[in-house]
């Protein structure tokens, strides 16, 4: 299907992963307006091209990490661009 380069386990099948989705910076829930919060919840860039996205290595290290991938070709950009250990969206 798709070999996902997990920073800890190496390349693993996407079936071993959970796709968390596009990486958005989460607004401060105490400061944000309800409209901006909903925009964070629902709106997607959904480009046909480079996309920063969060994966969860379900069947391996069970950690969250951020990768960049071209959604038109499914090629990952070299290796992981960052690891978000808290599991939040980076």
């Amino acid at each position: 299907m798709l070999l996902v380069p997990c920073p800890h386990c190496g390349p693993r099948n996407a079936a071993d992963m959970r796709y968390v989705g596009e990486s958005h910076r989460r607004p401060d829930p105490n400061a944000v307006t309800i409209e901006a919060w909903r925009e964070h919840l629902y709106m997607q860039r959904n480009p046909a091209g480079l996309l920063r996205e969060t994966w969860y290595c379900r069947a391996g290290c069970r950690r969250y990490f951020v990768l960049e991938r071209d959604t038109a070709t499914n090629q990952f950009v070299d290796s992981p661009t960052g690891v978000d250990k808290l599991g939040g969206k980076a």
């Binding site: 299907m1 099948n13 796709y19 480009p47 046909a48 959604t71 499914n74």
Partner: protein, 404 residues
């Protein structure tokens, strides 16, 4: 079937996307409202996207009252389509069965049946004996890995030849003066006076489209694409809550008729029907990550075969002929985005996820009414783009898709 005419530089309405939604919209604009100065543009060929890649199932047994009313109108249009469009769409009203493998699934089926009955939809929960009578090849033994505890049975559901639906609407629209332009890719949407860069975005007004064959001016541009909805809307500066994912499907070699109804299993992520030619057509859930790439995968066939054999062990010797996939624009509430947008003159009929084909006729009819009257028709009132900012989602997930 339709004329090949030169592309003009101005139309009253430009429809982007020559699938069942775009063509139905053009057809009803011409038929119901007398608006015939319309161009349907497609970057490929008519019906080459989701309209030719779906598994051709129609039904109206949804979970929300909004969904039920909407899809039932579509089913009504499918019922008389062969006569209305004078083309044999091969509508086979063979019934539709959604299997329940757990107590909680059975509870949801009961819920759906009651919502359906309240709106006069023929829909009921049946037990394993009745399931076996309707589809003898299903394994209803209690020892099955995923035992069949019952099913939601929906007799008016069935399958339709999807290509004929596309051709019927295309020919009907063409006969009434609509122009169909294939191999005409929309490269940009021209907007003036908006808040965003280049005058696009909310508050702006559409003036036309830029295509691979030149600029066209038009006061109304309708996005009827599936798979590329975000990319087209981005051209007008309208952001959408859509994630694009492929959905894979497959077909077997033809055999004698043995499966007289459509069978769906949500927990096993599979739906299957047998065509008039005798092939079994399988569909699954969408692939588990966003992509515009429609390459098939071995995981799909492996999982599909395993799950189908749980339901029908007797078909283990059948061979798959081919597999394919199409792009699905998924929304957060498994319901479409229809009607007006913050850009004046730019309308959307998008976000059709895995249920676009069955909704094609009613979407075309309602979008045409919205364009002709400038008001949102009642049937599509629940589906505006603004519902996400307002937090007023529809919540159709329980009945709109498999695999959740």
């Amino acid at each position: 079937m339709w004329r090949d005419v030169p592309l003009r530089t101005s139309y009253d309405v430009v429809i982007v996307g020559g699938g069942v939604h775009g063509l139905a919209c053009a057809y009803y604009l011409a038929t119901n409202h007398g608006i015939t100065d319309v161009a349907v543009l497609d970057k490929g060929y008519l019906g080459g996207g989701g309209s030719g890649r779906n598994t051709a199932i129609v039904r109206s047994n949804y979970l929300t009252p909004e969904g039920v009313a909407f899809y039932d109108r579509s089913l009504a249009l499918y019922n008389t389509m062969a006569v209305d469009l004078n083309i044999n769409v091969m509508f086979s009203r063979r019934g539709h069965m959604t299997l329940a493998h757990t107590d909680s699934a059975l509870r949801t089926m009961r819920w759906r049946a009651e919502v359906n009955k309240l709106q006069d939809i023929d829909s009921d929960v049946i037990g394993p004996d009745e399931v076996k009578r309707l589809a003898p090849s299903l394994d209803v033994s209690p020892g099955a890995r995923y035992p069949i505890l019952g099913a939601l049975h929906h007799p008016p559901g069935g399958i339709v030849r999807h290509d004929a639906v596309v051709w019927g609407y295309a020919r009907g629209a063409d006969h009434r003066g609509v122009e169909l332009h294939q191999k005409t890719e929309v490269l940009d949407i021209l907007v003036e006076g908006g808040d965003g860069p280049d005058g696009k975005g909310p508050g702006g007004t559409v003036t036309g489209v830029r295509t691979s064959r030149g600029d066209i001016s038009a006061p109304i541009v309708v996005n009827c694409t599936a798979g590329w909805a975000t990319l087209i809307s981005d051209m007008a500066g309208v952001a959408l809550p859509i994630s694009t994912r492929p959905l894979q499907a497959a077909v077997t070699e033809p055999v004698k008729v043995f499966l007289p109804t459509v069978v769906v299993s949500g927990s096993l992520h599979v739906y299957v029907s047998q065509t008039d030619r005798g092939e079994l057509v399988f569909g699954a859930s969408v692939d588990p990550f966003n992509t515009y790439n429609i390459r098939g995968s071995l995981e799909f066939t492996e999982e599909l075969a395993g799950h189908v054999l749980e339901l029908m062990p007797s078909i283990s010797r059948m061979r798959l002929l081919r597999q394919w996939s199409g792009l699905c624009d998924m929304t957060p509430d498994y319901s479409p985005i229809m009607g007006f947008t913050p850009v004046d003159g730019f309308l959307c009929d998008v976000g059709w996820g895995t249920y676009g084909f069955k909704a094609g006729p009613v979407s075309g009819e309602q979008m045409a009414e919205a364009i002709a009257t400038g008001r949102t028709p009642k049937l599509i009132e629940p589906f505006p783009l603004s519902r996400f900012a307002a937090g007023d989602l529809v919540g159709e997930k329980g009945a709109a898709a498999v695999g959740h």
